[in-house]
């Protein structure tokens, strides 16, 4: 069930448009020659119909059943004189959707159709008349029930998506907290203890003190590098974004680029390592390769995720520069492999265990 609208302003223009179907009844009441009593009843009924109709939008279970019953009553009372009163049955059927879950509404609709059909038959034995009432009531009723169900479904989906986003944000925060705990907490603890130790050893064992301080330097530097990497990981918007970025950059540099990427499930550390590796590889292609074509492939094979960057430029057997060796270290740290093949142009192959 969707929640009821709160104010008149919340009703859409269609609410007023649907009133059109009540006009034949009104016109008949005014134009056709009825006795004053009959005309009076009809006009009164119409005056009652209006608040019932609008009320139906704001009311939910179980009060909506009263409104449906009231509609039916109006139809039955006026139907003897003014066949257009059948329209009230249809309004009743439409109002059902507001009040109940799809299944219950459908059941009540069937009941409504029985009442409507029976009434039409009694009022005028014509099969045409009661068939029309039944068919139109069924149609309108079904349409409104279905559209309410869709609205409810959409609302649920939206809530589910919001929940997923919220949980994803929470997970990210958890991950950052965990990284700070693991990287900074440990590193700084060691630095504190070792520098405290070095100070104490300064007078009695200066050689050991020196050794401890050298350790402090090494550990601090390593810690800084790890934090730097973690921050790059947080900042990067993911492998998919990097792929598009690289595609644009290479194309802008006049290199004919083709990229073949299958979606592969990667751990965050692996994804950020590949993202940085891709960026580094693309930079190298632009700066050093003098290539005209570049082909990039991402695929999974034999339990590994693989990335290949192949260009047709002048391959170079020069030893790994800073970027490439940093990339290689990161990949190895994750248990992966990096290989460069310079037989035809340059082919960089990186694999990570899945």
């Amino acid at each position: 069930m969707t929640p009821a609208p709160k104010r008149f302003r919340d009703l859409g223009w269609e609410t007023y448009a649907w009133l059109i179907y009540s006009l034949p009844f009104l016109f008949a009441a005014l134009a056709v020659s009825f006795t004053p009593f009959q005309r009076g009843v009809m006009l009164l009924s119409y005056l009652l119909f209006l608040p019932l109709y609008f009320g139906g939008y704001f009311v939910r279970t179980p009060a909506i059943l009263w409104i449906v019953a009231a509609f039916d009553l109006l139809a039955i009372i006026n139907g003897r004189w003014n066949p257009a009163a059948a329209t009230f049955f249809v309004y009743g059927s439409a109002a059902l959707a507001n009040g109940f879950s799809t299944r219950t509404a459908a059941k009540i609709l069937v009941g409504q159709l029985v009442i409507g059909g029976l009434w039409s038959y009694l009022v005028s034995g014509e099969w045409f008349h009661y068939m029309m009432t039944i068919v139109i009531s069924a149609l309108i009723g079904a349409i409104t029930i279905q559209s309410r169900a869709k609205e409810a479904g959409d609302a649920k989906l939206r809530m589910a998506q919001e929940e997923v986003e919220r949980l994803a944000k929470l997970a990210e925060r958890e991950r950052i907290a965990r990284d700070m705990h693991d990287l900074l907490g440990h590193t700084l603890s060691v630095v504190v203890l070792k520098s405290e130790l070095a100070q104490k050893l300064m007078s009695r064992d200066p050689a050991k003190a020196l050794q401890e301080m050298a350790e402090v330097e090494r550990i601090s530097r390593q810690g800084l590098a790890e934090v730097r990497e973690a921050i790059t990981g947080y900042r990067s918007s993911g492998l998919a974004a990097e792929i598009e970025h690289v595609r644009e950059t290479l194309t802008a540099a006049g290199i004919d680029t083709t990229i073949e990427a299958r979606p592969i499930a990667l751990a965050p550390a692996q994804e950020s390592a590949l993202t940085m590796a891709l960026r580094e590889a693309a930079t190298n292609v632009i700066r050093h390769a003098a290539a005209t074509k570049c082909h990039i492939r991402f695929y999974a094979q034999d339990g590994s995720a693989l990335m290949e960057v192949q260009d047709d430029g002048k391959g170079s057997d020069a030893p790994f520069g800073n970027g490439l060796s940093g990339m290689s270290e990161r990949i190895h740290a994750l248990g992966g492999m990096l290989r460069r093949d310079t037989a035809q142009g340059t082919r960089l192959m990186i694999s990570l265990p899945l």
Binding site: H181, G185, L188, S189, V190, L193, E196, K200, E212
Partner: protein, 154 residues
Amino acid sequence: MVLGALAALLEIESDIEVVARAHDGREALALAAKTDPDVVLTDIEMPHMTGLEMAAELNRTRKGQRPRIIILTTFARPGYLRRALDAGASGYLLKDAPAEKLADAIRGVHQGLRVVDPQLARDAWGEGDPLTDRERQVLRARKRDCRARTLRSG
């Protein structure tokens, strides 16, 4: 590395001797049984068996009050202080506390005192139940109503 530095720092104290070093809770239990220390200093996050689990196990199997247990931590997680005390720990301190404080704590718990870092105690004190009794009642009632409504409209 923390282990080595801590041990080295404590050894400097003349009245403290480090009799064993372990890298995880299981190893610690084994070595404690063998070397019968007066005080056990332990981290919380360790492979194979956490410090809290090890403390609880020691608490269960030891005779009398020995060894006393001091739990060291880098960051105080909510609930750890409670669990540490429940596991029979006599001390709860920061890993990077100055060596003198650590040494004093060791001497203190050896004499039967309880030593908890004031900051950690303050943080843990603030960790009350996030819900009031009334809030809990309301949540339970809401849960009941939701279930009832599902039954009714289905």
